[in-house]
């Protein structure tokens, strides 16, 4: 059975590693990007089934990543964004650009797994 491919764009390496372990344990294939630029490259080259992205990242922000996926690549890949408290306006912008869901930091990795599974069900 083909494993679902997920691109995780997060500049906090510890959180990336933590989520990678958790999601791989659930049977997903994880591709890690340390910034927005890497995320865009991974999306272009690997055509993932889901993108998990932080809003604030070096080079390209999460909003630019969504915009690139929707407007340049013309893809309907689901995107879950990670926001922090006080970034409500950014979340609204992300939804207007085509984000599928969002999670506010700090969040529970277990909850993320539930949301990811729900997207694939």
């Amino acid at each position: 059975m083909q494993r679902h491919k997920i691109v995780l764009a997060e500049d906090n390496s510890t959180l990336s590693l933590l989520l990678k372990y958790r999601l791989e344990k659930e049977g997903f294939e994880l591709l890690i990007a340390a910034d927005g630029k890497e995320a865009v490259e991974l999306v272009e080259h690997h055509d993932p089934d889901l993108v998990l992205t932080d809003i604030m990242m070096p080079f390209y922000s999460g909003l630019e990543v969504i915009s690139h996926i929707r407007n340049k690549l013309k893809k309907e890949t689901p995107v879950i964004i990670f926001s922090s408290a006080g970034q409500e306006e950014m979340v609204l912008k992300a939804f207007s650009l085509g984000a599928s869901d969002f999670m506010t930091k700090p969040f529970s990795p277990n909850e993320l797994v539930i949301r990811v599974k729900r997207l694939f069900s």
């Binding site: 906090n12 390496s13 510890t14 959180l15 372990y21 969040f107």
Partner: protein, 303 residues
């Protein structure tokens, strides 16, 4: 040798201003060269430190994540977790390694919640990082104390309440600020009890930081703020007035009316403003001749 002698003779024969300029140029050249060399040394030292921290980060990150995922449903630590704790405990005896572990844990504490954040706190306790923070609390250098308080707040360590409370009236404003935020962040409205003993002024900025922490709390049930409205510390009274307004403390009507007679102009003005907001009292600009103290602020009339 002859050339050098010639130069020395030329220097001795030169006018005073030329001699002065020559010496000044020599001193400046020496200073610039020394500065360049010291900057190079500092930069290489920082690069080595950064590499060291990165190395430790790469070493401890997988270990910490393994710790977080090797727990079971019982609250007790598993064997794997215990062995990881022992490994970390041994490693963090060195300052750089300790710094790396704290950085990784802090980064995670800001990003994850629930069971995982509880697990990180357990690790903080079990590895003895809390003891290092307590030692730093007692440091004579204020910035080390301040950083230790921030760390204890981030890891939500409530056991150090009494130790941290000692800094409420610290001579450095930064330490006082971190102490106040620690208390409110961890003990919610009860943490505001530091206002009872506060002798130093509470700046407008610190008041805003405290209000921000309070407004982020899930439980918005406020305690008794009456003693703070009667405080001898004017900034505490002003802060209590802000609380009265934000939390609609209608039962403080009597205290608010009393505060119209407060010796401080700002307090009188704020009390009138809160009365206006809560009870619809209107501020009348006409001064009241009977009360000289309130001459400039006017008085209140019930609409």
């Amino acid at each position: 040798m002859i050339t050098y002698q010639h130069l020395i003779d030329s220097f001795n024969k030169a006018p005073f201003i030329i001699q002065f300029a020559f010496i000044a140029v020599i001193i400046m050249v020496i200073a610039i060269v020394s500065l360049i060399i010291s900057l190079k040394v500092i930069r290489s030292f920082l690069k080595i430190k950064d590499k060291e921290i990165l190395k430790y980060k790469n070493e401890y990150e997988p270990l910490l994540i393994e710790y977080l995922y090797s727990g079971n449903e019982n609250e007790e630590l598993t064997e794997t977790q215990q062995s990881i704790i022992a490994k970390i405990k041994e490693g963090i005896k060195g300052a750089s390694r300790r710094k790396s572990v704290i950085t990784i844990l802090t980064n995670l504490m800001n990003e994850v919640s629930g069971e995982m954040s509880d697990s990180i706190r357990t690790l903080y306790h079990e590895t003895g990082l809390i003891d290092y923070a307590i030692i730093r609390l007692k440091s004579k250098r204020w910035h080390i104390t301040s950083k230790a308080i921030v760390e204890l707040r981030r890891f939500k360590i409530q056991e150090t309440h009494d130790l941290v409370s000692e800094f409420i009236n610290h001579s450095k404003v930064e330490v006082r600020k971190e102490t106040q935020i620690y208390l409110v962040h961890l003990f919610k409205f009860e943490g505001l009890s530091f206002l009872d003993d506060l002798k130093t002024p509470l700046s407008e900025w610190h008041q805003l930081l405290l209000l921000e922490s309070l407004l982020n709390l899930e439980n918005q049930q406020i305690g008794n703020i009456k003693p703070w409205l009667n405080s001898s510390n004017t900034s505490v009274v002003l802060f209590a007035l802000k609380l009265t307004k934000i939390y609609n403390q209608f039962e403080m009507k009597h205290e608010l009316i009393e505060l119209r007679m407060h010796p401080d102009k700002e307090v009188r003005r704020s009390a009138i403003h809160v009365l206006n907001q809560l009870f619809g009292y209107e501020f009348e600009e006409t001064p009241k001749p009977k009360n000289r103290q309130l001459k400039s602020e006017g008085q209140i009339v019930i609409v």
